[in-house]
Amino acid sequence: MKARELHANLHLLDRQVISADDGHPVCKIDDLELTFDEKGCPYIVSILTGPLALGPRLGGLAGRLMVAVTELFRPEEDPGPQRLPMRLVSDINSAVAVGGTPQEAALEHWARVNLIAPLPGSGAAPVAHDRRPARIGEVTGELRMSTLLGRRVLDAGGRAVGQVADVRLRQDGPMLGDVQHAFRVDGLIVVPRHTGRLFGYERGPHGPGPALVRALIRGLHRDSRYVTWEQVDTLGEDVRLSADMDALLPLSDLYRPVSADQGHENGPTPA
Amino acid sequence: MRVSSCVAPILAVLLLSGCTSPAWDDHDYGLKAAQSAESAASSLEIVRLAVRHEDRLTTSYLKTLFTEAVKDLGGVNSQFGGVQPPSPSADEVRGRLLDLTGEAEDQVTSLLIQVRRDGIEDPEAAVKDLEGVAAKLRAFEEAHQ
């Protein structure tokens, strides 16, 4: 069986997380946390959520304020975002389903106890003043996906190739919780200039329409390249490649039809 | 915070749109006068339509409609009256228009009083009066455009 392939920015970041039991919304994937396997290849260990994950991604005044306010109300020495271990993920589709009962967000708890529950008819029995289930075994990683996105990419000769726009993942990393393989980094999609997102139009020669929007976005990113993980030398402040710029695949080659099951490569297939 | 940064200019626009800018010369003043006459005439026309069909409308509706019209006319009066006429010849324009809008306001006020009491006494005469003033206002508007 071929391992599943996903794009971090397109298929995971900012997706809705729902409960695997009853489908109720849990949170958004505000960020992803990676760690390195024995070969030095990063793979995803947990989903980060909450203002301490979203704030740094937003940046600017809004992001800093979001982080500052949250830290003000968190008693810990070094508060971190809430983590959902990747091993709990049971389905990745138009939403990401997680099993177990994740800890309730602090703001939800606060709003319920202080604002909503005191109002008549809120459906609330007198609330016990404790937050629902405690954290499910912390798994801390070493690298946030959002810091990988947007990094400058330099080739072996030190020439700037562009910046990371998306990260291609393949589900053949180490085992997580004995049930599934981790998504490991398989390659980087590098765009030549700061033109923002690819909106999914990088997929396939017959990518989604409308034709005009597709042509416009492809045109903006026409010199985009695909860097395989083997071509990456070091992941420092800049991504250093061991290959020369001319040896990199153009992005359009990524989905050149090679076999009949090509259709399944264009993203997650419905479970 | 992004929201609040858009609120400020919008509130400013909302507030400013309620004010009238000063008149720079006689021509500008004339244009302002014409605009005020137009808006007063428009209010009067609506009152006239309502009075002509007063038997088809409810009292509370008429009351609200006339109250709004009085407020509108009063607003025109005080807003235009607040603009400084730039020359002595403009004084005369000012006087004529304020007479007309004042008359309009009086008429509608008296209609409002009648409606509040026990209905409009003589709708036909009222329609005629309103038509007269509205026509004068329209003529004034034509003359100053």
Binding site: R15, K28, R112 | I46, R56
Partner: protein, 407 residues
Amino acid sequence: MKKLFAVTLGILTAFGGFVDIGDLVANSLVGARFGMSLAWVVVVGVIGICLFAEMSGRIAAVSGRPVFDLVRERMGPRAGLVNLGASFFINVLTLAAEIGGASLALELATGINYLLWVPGVALVAWLVMWRVKFETMERVFGLAGLALVAFAVALWQLGPDWHELGRQLTQPPADEGAPTYWYYAIALLGGAMTPYEVFFFSSGGVEEKWTRKDLVTSRANVFIGFPLGGFLSLAIAGCAAVVFFPVKAEVDTLGQMLLPAGIGLGQLGLAAVIFGVFAATFGATLETALSSGYTISQYFGWQWGKLVRPRDAARFHAVVLAGVIVATALILTTIDPIMVTEYSLIFSAAALPLTYLPVLMIANDPDYMGDQVNGRFSNTLGTTYMILLLVVAAAAVPLMIATKAGQ
């Protein structure tokens, strides 16, 4: 049979729920000043809202994701946040206008100043959102809004010169400048395509747990209900064009806007129209208030909606409550509700591409849609509208400044 009944009920709800204070104000103003010469904009707007509401309904049915969820998913957190700020601001402005409209309707019915009604309207609206089931709420006010059909009857009763109305379709009045004409065209488009309509429509679809089987219902609502609503809009404009346009009277209060119904149909018609306006604006109060909760909750991934008890969606209900309080406070400053409506229309028009572009992109994404992706027809029309909306968005605020908000 039961299915047919449900579909009919849905259509009637969409029909009665289409017109809100924005459509009412924009169409009356335009009818009085420009006759029927801007009727084409209503047609363009109705086709546009049908197109994008159908897409968002289809997305909701196939993938179970509401619109604002997708806005962030596709535009990213930063562009999404800007979008959220704009949408939330417009939503609260519209909410204020709707509360004002419902209170004005009560003033017309009772003769008691509208400001006294504002807190009561807001409180009752909040109670309905707090306690009443989604489906009941949507149906009751949608159906009550059907009383606005009185405008169409009134137009017919006024016995207009249809020939003259037809002539106006292509001939704008000579004494109005081009900037004002286009300014009001944009306001009308903003009224017909208000973004909260798709937020509400798609969130409603998710709340009612639409699946592929419900695509028929969704499409029937959109393709029959909305055009009927657009027909009502045109009837409102037509009434104003018959009564006010010939005597060059401009309307600027809600009372004036309802005068044609009274003249055409007498006290009974007037009462029906006042009731219809109240139902429509009160229904829209609920829709906009809930939409403000939907947008924020869906951006941050919170639990939202009315299917769970309020205590289980605490942040969502807190946002809705805060929205209602802010909007009520805004109206209680004695700011003119009709003016608030006019501004909300223009800002809505300026924000249209922000909402509709992600919808268009997702409706094309096979990951979400499977075999239900847009066809060639939807895409051609969608692209055309995208270009149109971008032009409108760029022109809206400059035109507002140039025409001093249409004076």
